[in-house]
Structure formats: C-alpha cells, structure tokens
C-alpha cells in the first residue's frame, strides 16, 4: 500500500514538474517556414498580438494587410490571430489583465469596452500622428466615440442597399410594365417596392410561395432599423432619449405586418425554413427564392463566389414617399488598443498604419468601401465589388444614418428584434379577418395596417419604456460611480 502511495505522489510531482518547466508557445517563436522572410530581423522586432475576426477570403484579406505592414518595416511584427467571438474573448482577457496588443471589435462593442475602461482613448495619439476628423466620413468616426472621446477606429465599413434579381425582373418584364413599373430599374419608394414585390411573387398551386418578391424577414439582421426608412429614429441624437414608438416607426412596423398577413405567416414560415445559410449557394437571394433583399456591401463578393453568373442589381433601399433619401444604415468593424496591453506604443504604430494605408488594402480585398473621405488611386482600379459606387454614395449621403452609441445599444437592438417578431407573429382577430375578406390590393394593405396599428404602437411603446428605464438606471449608476470616484 505504501508503495502505491509513493508511486502516486511521484507521478503527481512529475506531472507538476513537466507542466511547470515545459516551454510555453510564445508569439516570438520562430517558424522557419512561415517566417522565413523575416529571419534576419525576427529577434529585433517587437511582437504584437492582434485578435481579429473574419473567415475565408475576408480573413485572407486581413492577413494580407498585416503581412504588408510586417514587410513595410523591421521593428514590429504583428501576429493576426483569427478569433471567433472576439468581443467576448477580448473582454475575458481584459478582465484577466492579459489582453492582446490590438483588438478588432464591432462598433456596438465600443460603449461597453470604453465604459469599462478596457480600451485606451485614441484622441491624443491621433492628434500626434496627424489623423484628423476630416480624414474620415463623419458618421463612421462617431461610431467609435463615447462621451466625447474616440476609443476605436474603423476597419471594415458597411452600408446597406437593395439587391434585386435582374433575371426575375426580366422574366416578369411584361407584367411589370402592365402594372406601370419599369423592369429595368429598382423600386424607388417603399410603395413602389410593394408593387414590384406583388408582381414578382410566384406561388405553388396550393398557394404556398415559390418566389417572394420581397420578404422583410430576410436576412433578419436589420429588423431594428425599418423605421429609419419611414423617417423614424430609435434614439433622439439631441436628447439621447429612446424614441421607438414615434409615428414613423409605427408606420414602418405596420407595413411589415402587411407582408405577414398578405401572404400568410404559416406559409411564409415554412417557405423561409427552406432557405440555406448566408454563405452558401442556398442563400435565399442567391438561389432565387427572394427577388429583392436588403444586404450589405459584402454581399456581391458572396454572390459571385456561389453563383458567378447571377445577374443582379444594387440600388439604395427605397424610403417611404416624402422621406428624404437615399439613405442607409452605417456600421463598421473597429480596431482598438486594450488598456494594460504589453506594447501600447507599437500597437498605436500599427493602428495608425492601418488607418493611413491598411484600410484601402482591407477594403479592396474584402470588396468593401472604406471609412475615409478619400482612397488611394489604385483602390478603385479593378475593385472586385462592381457595385461599389452605390455603397460609396450611400456612405456620404446626407440622409444616411447611424444608431447613436448609448449605454443600452445591445439591449435596444435585441428588444427591437423581439418586437419585430411579436408584430410579425401577432394574429389578427377573427373580427378583423372578416373585415379583410373580399378586399384586395391597396385596400387590403391599408386595412391590415389599420387593424394592427394599435398592437404595433403598444409593442413599440413597451420597448421604449423598458429600454428607457434601463438607460436611466445605467446613467444614474454611472453618475454615482463617477461622483464616488471624484
């Protein structure tokens, strides 16, 4: 028995010793294959860890950008570490006081990271490096701001537009003309969008959809912003108050509801369940199940990847009549320097280079627009996104919008998505259905919107109350914390 005890103790000790003395992998480890070109300068360089998202060709683009930086000088070597759920992992690393030197996040991460003190403010560094506000398109820069300071700078910029399937338009050209619509262009107002959609719809003999002209639930990522295309806002930029139930938003979500009721929620639900994932040939738009869809600047690259011959067009997403346009939601991926990182000075050198030179490389290879006011001449030559001009125009359009950074940005987005789902699924009472019977076209649409207006108003008001309550509480707690810190 004694022998067993001693044996086990020795074994445990051996495991501990091996674990302790085993050399851990480090950024500075030289890989003779991957780092061959940097052999001579390897030990002289400061090695930075850069946690960033992306997959497939977008990751290759980011790697190319980093490689270009590494080749451009011999003092710093940036290691691009592809990281899924980069925001959560970065946050845990920040809590553990062992963050990367540079981190790539989404714009909606800026407030929680900045508020929690996980990022370094960049204003002074920008000033010292000659990066001024007018270097950027203003809205993009604002997405990296919180409480008057800049905490993160752009990497990949985004605007949204309407994608339309030209093959579908051509196939239904005659019907479109008969309806007084031009088959050679995209709809220019929401009202026109509905009319185009009506003509482009195709159904199976049992009434279930085969092709939907337009489906507001696709792709489902922007269900919180429909109100902006009707002139509404989620947050009042002047007062910071939540305004989810202002009349334009109510109008927008009543319009959404008309799609659910006109074609049947159950049928649409089954139809939608047959769609493939975004990055696949079975994407609803790429496969031709949906004729018109709102999507971002990245989408042409994915379409051409999966169906190179597809004929599609891109146009600004239409606004309701009387609402100034063109307009688009503007969002972006951001790059920042975590507080307590090991090499802040070198990290800034990299971030600054990314802003001045890297953005164009990344945008060009990822097929996107960039967040700066001007681009180098080579940026547009042979740019793989043939529809780039639409997205660039939207990025500087005066009516394009951002959702202002608030302390409850994520909660607001989630609650609006829930409100969207509720409005979409909410069943109209039998009495209402009786009133709809026999109506068609514009009359039916108007009646659906009338019938659901009260429910829409209540749902959006509930979101406003709930989110405003949370925002007020957070502001108050932040005030108390600041005053106790002072």
């Amino acid at each position: 028995m004694r022998g067993v005890h001693v044996g086990l103790a020795v074994l445990i000790l051996a495991v501990i010793l091996v674990a302790w003395f085993e050399p851990r992998p480090a950024l500075e480890d030289f890989d003779p294959v991957r780092h061959a070109a940097f052999k001579d300068t390897w030990n002289k360089r400061v090695h930075l860890s850069y946690w960033e998202k992306w997959g497939s060709f977008e990751a290759d683009a980011c790697q190319k950008m980093v490689d270009t930086f590494n080749e451009s000088q011999d003092e710093i070597f940036v290691h691009y570490l592809r990281t899924s759920q980069v925001d959560r992992k970065s946050m845990l690393a920040a809590i553990g006081r062992d963050p990367p030197d540079v981190v790539g996040l989404w714009n909606f991460n800026v407030v929680p990271f900045a508020e929690g003190g996980a990022l370094m403010p960049l204003d002074d560094l920008m000033k010292a490096s000659g990066l001024t506000r007018d270097f950027y398109i203003e809205n993009y820069l604002k997405l990296g701001e919180f409480e008057g300071r800049i905490w993160a700078l752009p990497t990949a910029a985004m605007t949204l537009a309407l994608f339309y399937n030209k093959e579908h338009f051509r196939r239904k050209a005659q019907e479109l003309r008969a309806a007084g619509l031009d088959p050679d262009r995209a709809p220019q107002t929401i009202e026109e969008l509905d009319r185009y959609a009506d003509v482009l719809n195709a159904f199976e003999p049992d009434g279930s959809p085969r092709i939907m002209g337009f489906l507001p639930t696709e792709p489902g990522w922007y269900n919180h912003v429909w109100g902006y295309f009707f002139g509404g806002r989620l947050v009042d930029p002047a007062t910071g108050k939540i305004t989810t139930d202002e009349p334009a938003n109510i109008r927008a979500y009543a319009w959404i509801k008309h799609y659910a009721e006109a074609y049947g929620r159950e049928k649409l639900l089954r139809f939608k369940s047959g769609f493939g994932t975004f990055d696949s040939p079975f994407n609803a738009f790429i496969e031709g199940k949906v004729s018109m869809e709102v999507q971002g600047v990245w989408f042409p690259m994915f379409i051409r990847r999966h169906r190179p011959q597809m004929e599609f067009g891109v146009a600004p997403f239409p606004c309701a009549e009387g609402v100034p346009g063109p307009r688009s939601l503007m969002e972006m991926d951001v790059i920042g320097i975590p507080r307590h990182c090991k090499h802040p000075k070198e990290a800034w050198r990299f971030v600054c280079w990314v802003q001045k030179e890297g953005l164009a490389i990344l945008g060009r290879l990822q097929g996107k627009n960039i967040a700066t006011r001007s681009a180098p001449p080579w940026f547009h030559q042979g740019h793989p996104n043939l529809e780039l001009d639409v997205f660039e125009m939207l990025a500087v359009a005066p009516a394009s919008f951002i959702i202002p950074n608030t302390l409850v940005g994520q909660e607001l987005r989630d609650e609006m998505t829930r409100a969207f789902e509720h409005i979409w699924n909410w069943p109209i009472e039998q009495e209402g259905k009786d009133r709809l019977a026999g109506l068609s076209g514009a009359e039916r649409k108007a009646m659906i919107e009338t019938l659901c207006r009260e429910e829409v108003q209540q749902t959006l008001a509930e979101v406003r109350r709930e989110i405003q309550r949370k925002l007020d509480a957070k502001i108050e707690r932040r005030r108390l914390q600041k005053s106790s810190a002072d």
Binding site: M91, G116, G117, A118, R270, S273, G274, N425, P427, L480
Partner: protein, 391 residues
C-alpha cells in the same frame, strides 16, 4: 499515530478535489452572492448597491418572460419525462426477446453530446424538410382520410373521394405486423388459423383507426387552428401558443424543446429499470393469488416500490430543468419573441451580452432559491407517498 497517518493520506488524496471544489464552485458561489448586491460591469470593480438588483428584477418584463418559460417547461417536461421513463422501463422489464439490445438502444441517446443532439434536432424540426413534419404530414393526412371515411369530414379536396393510399397503408401496416408478430401473441391466439388471426387483426386495426378518426374529429372541432397547424407545424420558428387560445400555454417552439427533451429519457428509464428488477416477485405472486389485475399490481406494488427512485428522478429533473441552456442557445437563441429564453440563457445574456454581472448574479441566486424551494417541496409532498423498504 498510524491513525493520523491514514487520515493525512486520505485527506491528501482528496485534497486536489477539495481545492478544485473550493476554487471553482465554492468561490464563485459565495462571490456570486456578493456580486448580486453590486453593480458589476465585468471590466470594472463591483460597486455595492444593496438590494437594487433584486428590486429591478421585480419590474423586469424580460426576466418575467424568462421565468414563465422556465416554469411552464418544468411543469410540462418533468411529469411527461417521468411518465415516459416509467412506461419505457416497464416495457424494458417485460420478458421479451432481445431485452438487452433494447436497453442499449434506449440508453445510447444519452451518450450523444448535447450540442450534437441540438443540431440533429434542428434538422428534425425543420418545417419544410424535417423528418418530424414529413411523418406528421403523412399521419395527419391518414387521420384526415379516416375521419372523412368515418364522419364525412376529411374530404377537403373535391373529387378526391374516400380512397386515400395513406389511410390504406395505415390500416394494412398494423394488420400485417400483427400477423408477422404472431409468435409474441398469447398461445391461445397463436393456435388459431392464420386467416382468423388476420381477420381479427384487421378488426382490431379498424377499431383503432376509428378511434383515431374520432380523436382527430374532436381535435378539429375543439382546436381548429392547432389541428390545421398540426399538419406542418413551424416548431422552433413559431412563437404562438399551443393550444392557440391559451396565451400562457407553451409556444410551438417550447413544445419542440419539450419533445426534444424526451430524447434523454432512456437514462432515467435505466434507473427505473434497476429498481423495477429489485421489486420482490413474491409481492406480485401474492397479488396474483388475490386476483389483482395488471393495473392494480402497477398502482399498488410497482409504483410504491420504485417511489424513492421516482423522487430522485423528479428532484434531478427539477435541477436540470432550471439549468437548460445548451439546447435553446444553439437552436433558437431564446427566440422567437423570447419564447424559449430560459432563465439560464437570461443569465448568460446579462453577463456576456449586456455586461451586468451583478444583475445576472441576482437572477442566478433567485434561480438557486427556487430550485431549493421546489426540491424541499418535492420532498415534503412525497413524504407520505415514498416507500422505503428499509424503514
């Protein structure tokens, strides 16, 4: 001295486990309690705010929805799981051929990782291509055909008549199965000529199908919306309640998770089975002498004898139900309309999405207290009903 050395050795061996317990369970448990009284964005130090988090919970509609989802799920899934597991265990306990094989088959699902199970069921529940809806559509159309045949209600499509291949298949299948499975019938039946057996089987199948037709007609009459949906439900994508007229009823999405939770019922059944095989045979023999039938034996002997295991499984189910996380996280992300946002998912969201560790800790503690209260309740209620042979 020898005793002391033995003690030191003993504690030495359990020390790693004790240290891990204290570090990874004990510390978070105590720290979580303290954090629940703090405003604690994970990137800053916790600031004490008293009972504010608990007060906020009272008025938080999202939390109320989450709690509602969890309680409704528990109220349906726990009893359903227990009944199904006991039934399964009783079948496995029967003296049939290939008993070990069936036991293994029913236990295997428990060995599959939850993430894999969730992804598998995502496909099964797909409204358009899912296996479940394909089977359900066939069954419902057969049931409709039979309802039409018996009650003249099913012929919704003009000109289709009464001849429905699905209905015929439904009639033929059990009859053929009955003939094929002749050997498992009682000897008295088996001795009869095959033709008479076939006719008898057909008669039994026709009666069963008439019952199906009647049930289908009743469902159509009482719950027309749900009966219509049952032909091809939206499952995980449908946030509407079932039955449609009961707003507090589980949504179709929640029903899907409840159905899916039955996947792991085999493990519970194996535990019941172990206890069932422990029930003394002489009790059944005595009951046979007294002329007790199967139901009486089950109610008066089997269930009381396995009641300690039922209590154990109920308590474990209560704990497990309040910790459901992986399935909704992967399959629905809490949607549609928060109808599958279990409290565990709520805690996760508030920690990682909204960075409110203090608030999430308060919810976790409320959850803990609820589990403790429900467990005590289960013990109290069962005090007079659980039979321990050793006492």
């Amino acid at each position: 001295m020898a005793n002391l050395r033995r003690q030191v050795a003993g504690y030495g061996f359990i020390l790693p486990w004790l240290v891990a317990l204290a570090l990874f369970i004990g510390y978070p448990f105590v720290a979580g309690f303290y954090f629940s009284f703090c405003d604690y964005p994970p990137l800053r130090s916790p600031a004490f705010i008293g009972l504010d988090n608990y007060a906020e919970l009272l008025g938080d509609a999202k939390f109320h929805r989450s709690l509602g989802v969890t309680l409704v799920y528990a109220a349906v899934a726990i009893p359903l799981g227990v009944v199904l597991a006991i039934t399964l265990a009783m079948f496995l306990n029967a003296r049939i051929r290939g008993q070990s094989f069936y036991r293994v088959i029913f236990y295997i699902p428990h060995l599959v990782p939850t993430v894999v199970v969730a992804i598998l069921w995502l496909w099964i529940f797909n409204p358009e291509f899912g296996l479940l809806n394909i089977v359900l559509a066939g069954l419902m159309s057969a049931a409709d055909a039979w309802t039409g045949l018996f009650f003249g209600l099913g012929a919704e499509t003009p000109g289709q008549g009464f001849f429905r291949p699905a209905a015929v298949a439904l009639l033929a299948a059990p009859a053929l199965a009955a003939v094929a499975l002749g050997p498992i019938m009682p000897a008295a039946v088996r001795r009869r000529p095959a033709l008479r057996r076939l006719l008898a089987s057909l008669a039994v199948a026709a009666i069963l199908l008439a019952a199906v037709a009647l049930l289908n007609a009743v469902v159509h009459g009482l719950l027309p919306v749900d009966a219509k949906k049952l032909h091809s439900p939206g499952w995980l994508a449908d946030g509407n309640p079932l039955p449609a007229d009961l707003s507090f009823a589980p949504s179709w999405a929640l029903w899907a998770l409840i159905v899916m939770s039955m996947w792991g019922v085999g493990q519970m059944a194996i535990i019941y089975l172990a206890k069932l095989q422990d029930v003394p045979v002489d009790l059944y023999e005595a009951a046979d002498i007294d002329g007790a039938n199967w139901l009486q034996k089950t109610w008066q002997i089997t269930l009381p004898m396995i009641s300690p295991v039922i209590l154990f499984n109920v308590v474990m189910s209560i704990i497990g139900t309040f910790q459901v996380f992986t399935e909704p996280y992967i399959m629905t992300a809490g949607g549609p309309e928060d109808k599958t946002r279990f409290v565990a998912l709520f805690v996760y969201d508030y920690t990682f999405q909204y960075q409110r560790v203090g608030y999430a800790s308060a919810v976790a503690w409320v959850l803990f207290v609820m589990i403790v209260v429900l467990t005590i309740l289960a013990f109290r209620i069962s005090q007079k009903r659980v039979y321990y042979a050793g006492r």
